[in-house]
Symmetry: none
Subunit: 192 residues, 4 copies
DNA sequence: CATGAATGAGAATTCATTCAT
DNA sequence: CATGAATGAATTCTCATTCAT
């Protein structure tokens, strides 16, 4: 009945799962460890989620939604698209750079068989904001006339790789590097 | 009994592992299943690989090397770089599209904690061909003056996402789509 | 709030337990399911019964008593014993045939280690009506001079098996079949 | 490969399961206890049986077959049916009296939802010997013209109850009691 | 070298029971 | 009295790995 407490527990389970999986992977993150880290009993997890798989999928949807929201939070539709895209692109890199657990978890999920457990609707819904963002730009002729799906793939794919590189620590990325990366991306997708 | 047979067995184990993991993921691909699919006894796998982790890492190195070789197999250094890059980019997409098991396995590996089990040298060595390819282009001023690492990330990241999209089957990619994708990438990285 | 409601709740718990156990067995009938089916909270069950075992035992005693009462409800001591026995035998078969949940539950209980949790007195008391019924018949020499316990066993054992057969649905039992079954039993136990 | 050893292990698992379940019931007989009692590792059980349910069902089929064989082992078709039936009936009581674990296990199984997990063919096959035995007697007019299924039910049902009574220890059954029980049964089923 | 039965630690999950509200 | 979230011990089952043959 206590919604605050409920929220706290579910949130704690999410957080613990995120931390463990982002670090150790799906199969080295036993429910017992999740429980311990979340300060709940193992059985409690099963009040909130039917199974480990369901917990993982729910966490994906939750974290995916949250990051998309965050990435678009400073979007100003009144600005020129190039500026909006710049903000989007850099914010994406920045958000995941400062939230590496989210990043590692999401990437792991998207590149594993788990992704195929999601409902088609969920996948579509999660992608919607980016889809709309880029589709409108194609429509208004600011951006190359390519199927938005392809645009999304290329833009997010290149960003993901950059984030991975940056997080790896093997390469120190300056803000000038990021600026160049943005131009590399932008010059590719803008209407030639 | 002889090296040929050994090779066959090792190859069979690799193939079985690839098929299982690409489809079911790391966990959900028990050694007993690998053995069954490879037509060898479970214990036999341990003559060729110290552990499951080692098998998986060896498979990664093996398949990574093979795909890089394949992607560069038609590279003609005498041609203009733009042509070479076009061939490289489209061949990458094509190779993984026609070898989805390899693609799914490699992506899963690279986005999981397994990647950190590899030796630094291995990682560097595997990346070397692409690194050299792009570094030279930067050096000869055909391509934007960006750290090659960043270039690699952006190019391969966008290609990966395209392959994933294409393999998902949810979007039918025509050769004209691919051509546009190539230009999108090229216009981004070429010297402005 | 009041005794009526109490009665209702206890009854609802009994009914839910009966339905679940008769269908799924003792394990596979969790208290949480019982609670759900009875429309009470899990904790509420523990106001009426100390434990699951106690609930099950109480349900046995309750349902056993009820069925014995029902089976004897048309007994007319003024009639000849053969008629009374016929009515008893056929009513037993009929009662359980029309109350299969009760039957399956009672049989499961009696053939499981649960039966040994009951107090000796309870067992004796539950059996008393049948015991008296048959003992008197032995005494008045209408029935073979066999220890009543043995008579009870044979009569109820054959009836149980018939009910099981009939409930199984694999054999359609006509009223003439039942009549013959009665004679088979009667001719066996009557004074030769 | 070692068939003798294999046999020993499977047999040991069967024996351990029988002892535990006959005494404690299905749900108080954990696989870990079975393993301990059988002197094998828990995992070993799963080499022989896919699941606990399958183990239990296999044990039922195995023990059922064995007891039927035993009950008929002294059957002499050249003798008059009455004698054969007497031997059958008393041997049934005797066999289970001297093999109480088998009896308790079989009864528990047959009166639980487990029975419905068996294949129809298995059930028919297991019953076949008794069915043939009684059907022939009906055919040759030695026994009442009742559907054999009903005969089986009545005969085995009464025998089961007698065995239960005898095993309970609350009633000391003499051989004269058994003789009377036989006549009670026989006089019921014989052609009047 | 090859086998595959056997191991047993460890994983996911269940569920009777409790207790703060 | 009633609730049902929370507990955590117990249970089933999996699977990487070993080793006698």
């Amino acid at each position: 009945m206590n919604t605050v407490k409920d929220f706290d527990k579910k949130e704690a389970i999410f957080q613990a799962t995120l931390e463990l999986i982002s670090k150790h992977g799906f199969h080295s993150s036993p429910m017992s460890e999740v429980a311990k880290k979340a300060n709940v009993a193992a059985g409690t997890i099963y009040h909130y989620f039917k199974s480990k798989d369901e917990l993982i999928c729910a966490l994906y949807v939750y974290k995916r939604e949250k990051s998309i929201q965050n990435i678009f939070k400073n979007d100003d539709p009144s600005k020129p698209f190039k500026d909006r895209f710049r903000s989007f692109y850099l914010q994406m890199i920045n958000y995941y750079y400062t939230n590496p657990k989210e990043f590692y978890f999401l990437e792991q999920f998207m590149n594993s068989p788990y992704i195929s457990m999601l409902q088609k609707e969920d996948i579509v819904r999660l992608e919607q904001p980016i889809y709309d963002f880029l589709r409108k730009a194609v429509f208004t002729q600011v951006v190359r006339d390519i199927p938005p799906k392809i645009l999304i793939a290329m833009v997010t794919g290149s960003a993901s790789s950059l984030i991975k590189l940056r997080l790896s620590g093997e390469f120190l990325m300056t803000s000038s590097d990021l600026e160049m990366a943005f131009f590399t991306c932008w010059d590719g997708i803008k209407k030639p």
